[in-house]
């Protein structure tokens, strides 16, 4: 299911004032503002959602499914990202939260924790037998995978070749419901309750050749209000603290440092935020980090709890999760022998590595690309180099590149025309001045 990638956000021109906020927030320079309207360059966009975070309720809006979109399924199973639990008071029993989800219209809830435990153990198994390039880069965040494909295609072989827990959970939920409720698996809709817009892209157009087991995504931010109301309304008398069998690994999955919790700390790194991930990828490309086994990468600051579709402050969300783990008295106890069997059977293996999708170069022909790069650098030398963004490009360099590619005109640079006006003004002033006369001539 490759083909045309599905955009993670939709653009609403009538809401756009051409303010350049989204453009300046974009870590991959994938937005331009032309004729006072933002424009997304698809080949550069990595679906990180930083544009949405920079201007909530602006013109860039996340694309997710609404509850009414889900009516096409006979049975809807919610698979909450652990970031959902982190939005609520840790004292609220998860049983009440699950009941609230049923109240919102879901037929069942599947916990992500068992899959997180399995995938984490499988990651350890993979790392212990892996003899290839190091460090291995976590591949659970779709934006991180896309960043590798687009900007660091030479690092594709570093990506962990395992399925993310959400896929393992979706498949397990479909099998379970088919068995328990007699619904055909294809009539079961597996719905990920997502903290970010990139999960939707991974569902609609996965990075590999295999279709996703998930069928839809619903935004946590959108669900927050109706879910809070449904929890208050449902108020079931005796609810379980952890009806889905949550585990510490499962709950920690949503925040930075949670993933390699069971790996030796001195051999792994945990990074969050696209610009920080980029710095780490730069070092991996230079082979500076070959002594590390594993790099946990999240595109959102502090991990999934910092996603653009959450409501709680990511630091508070993290503290709430730690509190919940403590209250539940959770310890690590996955059945490693059973997971090892599943690992050997290849259950967690990705069928194919994500492909390289390098962003467009200056020209497909390298000789012409060289000529264009020289032009770009020559033009760049005339620009002020202050990256003000008034021209509609995020940096003077990006602007010069746009000019060379015929997508922008030098006259769009306000600093250049100010310089021109100043020069004309000086010329006019000197023309008007009585002192400007031929040598020796009296005015």
């Amino acid at each position: 299911m490759t083909g045309q990638p599905v955009p993670s956000m939709r653009f609403e021109p009538e809401r756009c004032r051409g303010c350049t906020k989204c453009m300046r927030a974009c870590p991959t320079e994938a937005i331009r503002v032309r004729r006072s309207l933002a424009l997304r360059l698809e080949d550069r966009c990595i679906d990180c959602g930083d544009c949405i975070k920079a201007y909530p309720n602006g013109a860039m809006l996340p694309v997710t499914d609404s509850m009414t979109d889900l009516s096409r399924f006979d049975c809807k199973v919610a698979i909450p990202s652990p970031a959902l639990f982190a939005q609520f008071d840790p004292e609220l029993p998860l049983g009440a939260l699950f009941a609230g989800l049923i109240g919102c219209g879901f037929d069942a809830v599947e916990s992500l924790s068992p899959a997180c435990d399995a995938v984490m153990a499988a990651t350890e198994m993979f790392l212990s037998e892996h003899r290839g390039t190091r460090p291995v880069i976590s591949s659970f965040c779709p934006t991180v995978v896309r960043l590798v494909q687009v900007k660091y295609p030479d690092l594709v072989e570093h990506l962990l070749p395992l399925e993310p827990p959400r896929e393992i959970s979706a498949l397990a939920a479909k099998k379970r419901l088919a068995l328990e409720r007699g619904v055909a698996p294809e009539r079961v809709g597996a719905v990920y309750l997502t903290p970010c817009s990139s999960k939707m892209v991974s569902v609609a157009s996965p990075s590999g050749p295999e279709p996703s087991h998930l069928d839809a995504t619903v935004s946590i931010a959108e669900l927050y209000q109706p879910l809070s109301a449904a929890i208050a309304k449902a108020r079931p008398p005796d609810v379980a603290d952890s009806p889905g069998g949550e585990t510490a690994t499962g709950l920690s999955w949503a925040f930075l440092g949670g993933l390699p919790g069971t790996l030796p700390a001195e051999h792994s790194l945990s990074v969050s935020g696209v610009s920080n991930v980029i710095r780490i990828f730069d070092d991996i490309e230079k082979e500076r980090l070959r002594h590390y086994d594993f790099v946990e990468c999240h595109a959102c600051p502090e991990g999934c709890v910092g996603g653009c579709l959450t409501v709680e402050n990511p630091y508070v969300a993290r503290a709430k999760t730690i509190r919940r783990i403590h209250l539940l008295g959770l310890a690590e106890a996955p059945d490693r022998a059973a997971i090892a069997r599943r690992y050997r059977d290849g259950e967690f293996r990705l069928k194919a590595r994500p492909s390289e999708l390098p962003q467009r170069s200056l020209d497909p022909d390298i000789s012409r690309a060289i000529v264009k790069m020289k032009q770009r650098d020559r033009l760049g030398a005339h620009l002020p180099g202050i990256d003000c963004g008034a021209c509609g490009a995020p940096s003077c360099r990006a602007f010069a590149e746009d000019v060379v590619l015929g997508e922008a005109q030098m006259s769009s640079c306000p600093a250049l025309w100010r310089r021109k006006i100043a020069k004309r003004a000086r010329e006019l002033a000197s023309l008007a001045s009585p002192r400007r006369t031929a040598k020796g001539e009296k005015p």
Partner: protein, 140 residues
């Protein structure tokens, strides 16, 4: 020449804060030109090792990049102590790194051998007390 790009970077010795800028810029340039990812990777490794050698051992140096549609050449000149025994320096595991350099993850004696492994042509010459010159070629 039309189909040839020449760029140069100055690198200062002991400037650990700015270290790696030249090699990052070289990498960005090659990516912008649409050079194959595997070739970019090799040049990235070679140029970073070369840059760090200047930063760690020399007073200053220059890195000159030449890109043509067929080859990528990197010429690295530094003013520094030079290498008395090049053959020995090319041995895997040989290093004169100080404890501070080792602290930063260098000094495994991998630098020069790693550069040679990742290039298609690798020439090194050095004058003790004057400096070192590397001429490296990676084919596209």
């Amino acid at each position: 020449m039309a189909g040839q790009l020449d760029l140069a970077w100055e690198v200062r010795g002991r400037d650990f804060a700015g270290a790696g800028r030249a090699s990052t810029s070289i990498k960005e340039t090659l990516k912008g030109l649409g050079v194959q990812p595997s070739v970019v990777r090799r040049v990235a490794i070679v140029s970073y090792e070369a840059e760090m050698n200047i930063v760690m051992y020399a007073d200053r140096g220059t890195m000159q990049l030449r890109v043509t549609p067929r080859v990528i050449r990197l010429e690295v000149d530094d003013a520094g102590p030079g290498i008395p025994d090049i053959e020995q320096a090319m041995q895997v595991g040989y290093s004169t790194a100080t404890p501070e350099m080792r602290e930063m993850g260098f000094g495994a004696g991998m630098g020069l051998p790693n550069m040679k492994r990742n290039s298609d042509r690798f020439d090194i010459s050095s004058t003790v007390g004057r400096g070192t010159r590397l001429q490296i070629q990676v084919d596209q």
